[in-house]
């Protein structure tokens, strides 16, 4: 059995020895460097573009919107984002002109020699004042007015979260070139088929004339979900015009300022409860800032909206949400994808409710938390695999939460102590896979190939971006077939070699695509059994069997397509039904200490229990939990993109501060497994789950420590000091 074991990471040896090839490591003979000239105003029309005549432009290739053979569009969901600005710019750093040159420094010099004049138009920066709504949702359950009428107490709160930069250590990088009539695009990306679909429209080509190949990718976290489509379009335009390969490798400050970030949010709660703390009604409002173009905002809002009521049962719920336009660089996917924003509010609101009722927030959570049989805000009955209580209780026990609440109260009351101490809790659910009808729409395919030489190859478009995709696939296939995991290799995500398994996002790679890989491998198993009565026992066996089964072809593919479980029903129009096939659950306790002189926060320990259905590889699963939780801690305490005139001004790692090894505490991680009947070996979603809870747990801990509820992130020392006044 491979599933459940800590099989070593497949891509480990190559990465550890410096042999793994990230895009900028790949030798591409004759490759030129591409650079981007970007808008220096947040909103305006382009009056003129002038090229300094003293510069040797004949050495360069220059591209503008006029050079786009097909549509000037980065196809995603709405058709509103141009590949290159044409006549009008809607955000700072919007791409206008592309330049390629054999020498990188000269390419950058060329970019400085382009002078663009604008007629400025008034920009909108405040999401609460924007009239342009990209998308809105309404969720209604029960009778809201009746719920409020019956209330013993009504508690209101308003919560704000900032943008957040993914800060993958490898900046966005893509190269493009044409070979034998095929436009090849390769680089750091999460979703090869998203890029392919975008390229089809930009270059008016069919799929066989475009090929997208993922290189080893140095982190994504959602930041390379859709942005690479834009970058690929840029690199390809330059490459086709230059008649040679072109690569674009972003600099750090460019990547931070120009590419997608987490949607900022304002979330308002109005909550009706009985005096015992049972939820009677939740009235929730959500506003998110989408930036200048829609991109993924509608889906981010969707997930945020569907999680807005938290992991609790409430008979009467209304969620009204909208995502609006501002003249800032478009926001996009970042781990959690709208849920961290609304869950921050839902969880921290319990601290306010606790104060109003005089009942602690742990007791309140216990009284309302989801169990098997609970119904969600969209009317979904949670039929199985609900680990919320187990996660909460395990976390409370292992962290010593109850005793520490009292102990720290005593500590904080002593004026002689140098710090304030606090311990805070949060619990969440996180839907696995695409929302509602999303997985049906994606119609993902994945499979395995058996080559005539006896190789077993997993075929999926899901990318390894550090989370362990390749290792997990091999383990799933290994157990599905009943052979060692080492017999399987995983094909490079190359659109000429693998089927469209959908994007590597939404915590779906194991549950959905791993599930497809498992099913396809079972078909292969059946093929072996039908032919030989059993599965090969040795690699020599395998080679012989392969030769027979392949019947003279070089390989035989076993591919399956996603099938919606029949019990899942969803109505996109009313936003009612089974929003996700299943949810994962997690709870966290954050134990921290605040210096009374400076209000600096030091997190002393994090204790967390996370229900992921089944840990295919426990070591990799824990790694995802610790890593995701650390990003959550960064968002809670350190990270804040600062904007002035619509552009991020702290766009370097010096001033956009992510946690170092000295900023992160020891983590105690407990894996809870409440198997999901439709997941491979019971597995659910994992990747995003850890992101949802550190934010509110930190805020709750700070409230415990200081007595102040600060409804905004990050909890910088400045904000804490201000609250203490």
């Amino acid at each position: 059995m491979s599933v459940g074991k800590n099989e070593p990471r497949r891509d480990g040896p190559a990465k550890l020895t410096g042999r793994a090839l990230y895009l900028d490591d790949v030798a591409i003979p004759g490759c030129w460097h591409g650079v981007t000239v970007r808008s220096s105003v947040p909103h305006g029309t382009i009056k003129s573009i002038a090229y300094d005549p003293a510069f040797p432009w004949d050495e360069c290739v220059v591209v503008t919107a006029k050079d786009i053979p097909g549509k000037n569009l980065v196809a995603l969901i709405e058709a509103d984002q141009p590949l290159l600005a044409d006549g009008v710019v809607r955000h700072r750093e919007e791409a206008i002109v592309l330049i390629a040159h054999p020498d990188r420094a000269t390419a950058y010099e060329a970019a400085k020699r382009v002078r663009i004049e604008y007629e400025p138009l008034p920009p909108v920066f405040d999401m609460e004042k924007s009239d342009t709504v990209f998308k809105s949702y309404l969720i209604e359950r029960g009778d809201l007015d009746a719920g409020f009428a019956a209330a013993d107490v009504v508690v209101q709160g308003e919560y704000r979260t900032p943008s957040q930069e993914q800060a993958y250590i490898e900046n966005n990088a893509i190269a493009a070139y044409e070979e034998d009539g095929v436009l090849i695009v390769t680089g750091s990306l999460q979703c090869p088929y998203y890029v392919l679909k975008a390229m089809k429209q930009i270059f008016d080509r069919t799929e066989d004339k475009i090929r997208v190949i993922q290189t080893v990718t140095g982190g994504g976290f959602g930041g390379k979900e859709e942005y690479p489509s834009m970058l690929a379009g840029h690199a390809a335009l330059l490459a086709l015009k230059a008649g040679r390969p072109v690569k674009i490798v972003y600099e750090r400050h460019e990547d931070m300022a120009a590419t997608t970030k987490r949607h900022p949010s304002v979330v308002r709660h109005r909550t009706a409860l009985t005096k015992e703390g049972k939820l009677l009604a939740q009235d929730i409002e959500v506003i998110m800032d989408g930036g200048a173009y829609a991109t993924l905002s509608g889906v981010v809002l969707s997930r945020g909206t569907l999680h807005a009521a938290g992991v609790y049962e409430c008979p009467n719920v209304r969620v009204r949400s909208k995502v609006v336009m501002t003249h800032t660089p478009p926001n996009g996917a970042f781990r959690g994808f709208g849920a961290p924003q609304t869950l921050f509010a839902a969880e921290l609101h319990w601290e306010k409710v606790a104060d109003a009722l005089g009942i602690d927030s742990l007791t309140l959570r216990r009284r309302n938390i989801f169990k098997v049989g609970s119904t969600t805000s969209t009317g979904q009955v949670l039929m199985e695999s609900v680990g919320a209580e187990e996660c909460l209780e395990k976390t409370v026990k292992a962290s010593g939460y109850a005793a520490k609440r009292k102990e720290y109260d005593r500590w904080n009351a002593d004026p002689k102590k140098p710090t304030w101490k606090g311990i805070g809790l949060a619990v969440c659910h996180h839907g696995a896979g695409f929302t509602g009808s999303g997985e049906v729409y994606l119609a993902s395919r994945a499979g395995v190939a058996l080559t005539a030489k006896g190789e077993l190859i997993v075929l999926a478009a899901s990318t390894e971006i550090g989370q362990g995709t390749n290792t997990m696939f091999a383990q799933v296939a290994s157990d599905a077939l009943g052979v060692p995991a080492s017999w399987f290799s995983v094909e490079t995500p190359d659109t000429h070699k693998v089927p469209d398994s959908g994007p590597t996002v939404a915590s779906r790679t194991c549950m959905i695509v791993g599930g497809l890989v498992g099913r396809a491998t079972k078909d292969l198993k059946r093929a072996f059994e039908n032919e030989f009565g059993r599965v090969p026992k040795t690699t020599a066996d395998l080679k012989k069997a392969a030769a027979v089964l392949c019947k003279g072809s070089p390989a035989r593919r076993f591919e399956v397509q996603f099938e919606k479980p029949p019990e899942v029903t969803w109505d996109d129009k009313t936003y009612r039904g089974d929003a996700y096939g299943v949810y994962s659950y997690a709870a966290i306790a954050v134990d921290l200490e605040i210096d009374r002189l400076t209000c600096e926060v030091r997190v002393r320990k994090v204790t967390t229990a996370q229900d992921i259905g089944k840990a295919i590889n426990p070591l990799l699963a824990e790694g995802q939990i610790i890593g995701g939780s650390t990003q959550g801690l960064g968002w809670a305490l350190l990270e804040e993109p600062l904007f002035k005139d619509g552009v991020m001004i702290n766009s370097q790692l010096t001033n956009y501060v992510i946690p170092t090894s000295l900023d992160t505490p020891p983590f105690e991680v407990m894996l809870v497994e409440k198997p999901y009947s439709r997941g491979p070996f019971g597995a659910k979603g994992l990747g995003e789950l850890p992101m949802d809870i550190p934010g509110p747990a930190v805020a709750a801990a700070v409230k415990h420590a200081t007595g102040r509820l600060i409804p905004t992130l990050p909890h910088t020392p400045e904000r804490i000091a201000q609250a203490m006044k």
Binding site: A105, C599, I649, N655, V657, A721
Partner: protein, 288 residues
């Protein structure tokens, strides 16, 4: 990465005298020691086409010499080397503590004390320590040598009082006549490591008989365009008995000596209130 290596002229003197001569001949050359500040600008393409005076071969400036009245640090001594030196660790612990907070190991292995001073960042972590140790910066130029007290070496944000053609050859740390009763270095940064300071403090006190403070040397960085000795506070405290009343009164004088601002890392209000807290805790003997 926008630096154009082909466009650079690199001048590599091998001795101090040659460095001074070369710099006098090419005054537009950019003196370059460890490069941890200069190279950031270079990566942004800001230095293309310039001449660079690579000082890394000037062996005379790499020495740490212990003499009878103090320690002479060559300007090319790195932050890591300062931390490792036993006499510096014993006699100038605040400077050692400060060096440990500059960036992280990779920066400390390259950044030099002279380069740090020449860069003259308002947030220089070593400057409050150099300030309270009353270090002297030794500059050498076409007209010879001169000693500049560290209190006079900084002219403003990223500006020194070095004259044209002058390079920093050493920083001299005089042994105090009497061992301080207490000394503390405290930096408040943006995070636990690799942090730029929001405020950075160094303080030394000498107590006399009967709980009376004989002398205090107090300095803050990141609280003004240059590092500031707290002359008003020090003047008030001299000869005074330290108690809650006198310490509070002293802290009231802090705004006379510093001028913090709102910037990308912090706010004026936070800086002032935290600096006041640190100062008071130090004077009370509660700051570690």
């Amino acid at each position: 990465m926008r630096g154009d290596a082909k466009s650079m002229t690199v001048l590599s003197p091998r001795t101090a005298a040659e460095a001074v001569r070369t710099y006098a001949k090419v005054p537009s050359a950019l003196p370059f020691a460890g490069g941890t500040d200069v190279m950031v600008g270079w990566n942004l393409g800001q230095l293309n086409g310039r001449a660079v005076l690579d000082l890394s071969r000037v062996a005379e400036w790499k020495k740490i010499r212990v003499v009878s009245d103090g320690v002479d640090l060559g300007s090319l001594v790195t932050h890591a080397q300062i931390q490792a030196h036993p006499v510096l660790r014993k006699r100038f612990p605040l400077l050692v503590a400060a060096c440990a907070t500059v960036g992280a190991a990779q920066i400390q292995n390259r950044g030099t004390i002279g380069g740090n001073i020449a860069n003259a960042s308002p947030a220089g972590d070593t400057f409050p320590a150099l300030s309270v140790y009353e270090a002297t910066v030794r500059a050498v130029g076409p007209n010879g040598r001169r000693g500049v007290p560290v209190s006079d070496i900084f002219a403003g944000v990223k500006k020194t009082t070095l004259k044209p053609g002058e390079l920093i050859e050493a920083v001299f740390l005089p042994f105090p006549d009497r061992t301080p009763t207490r000394g503390v270095f405290r930096k408040v940064g943006t995070r636990a490591a690799q942090a730029i300071s929001k405020t950075v403090f160094a303080g030394l006190v000498w107590n006399g008989k009967g709980g009376v403070l004989e002398e205090a040397r107090l300095a803050f960085g990141s609280m003004a365009p240059t590092v500031r000795r707290l002359h008003a506070v020090e003047g008030y405290l001299r000869g005074r008995r330290l108690n809650d009343v006198s310490i509070s009164a002293a802290a009231e004088l802090l705004p006379n000596d510093v001028s913090p601002i709102d910037d990308i890392r912090s706010t004026r209000e936070y800086r002032l209130s935290v600096s006041r807290n640190i100062l008071m805790a130090f004077l009370k003997g509660e700051l570690k």
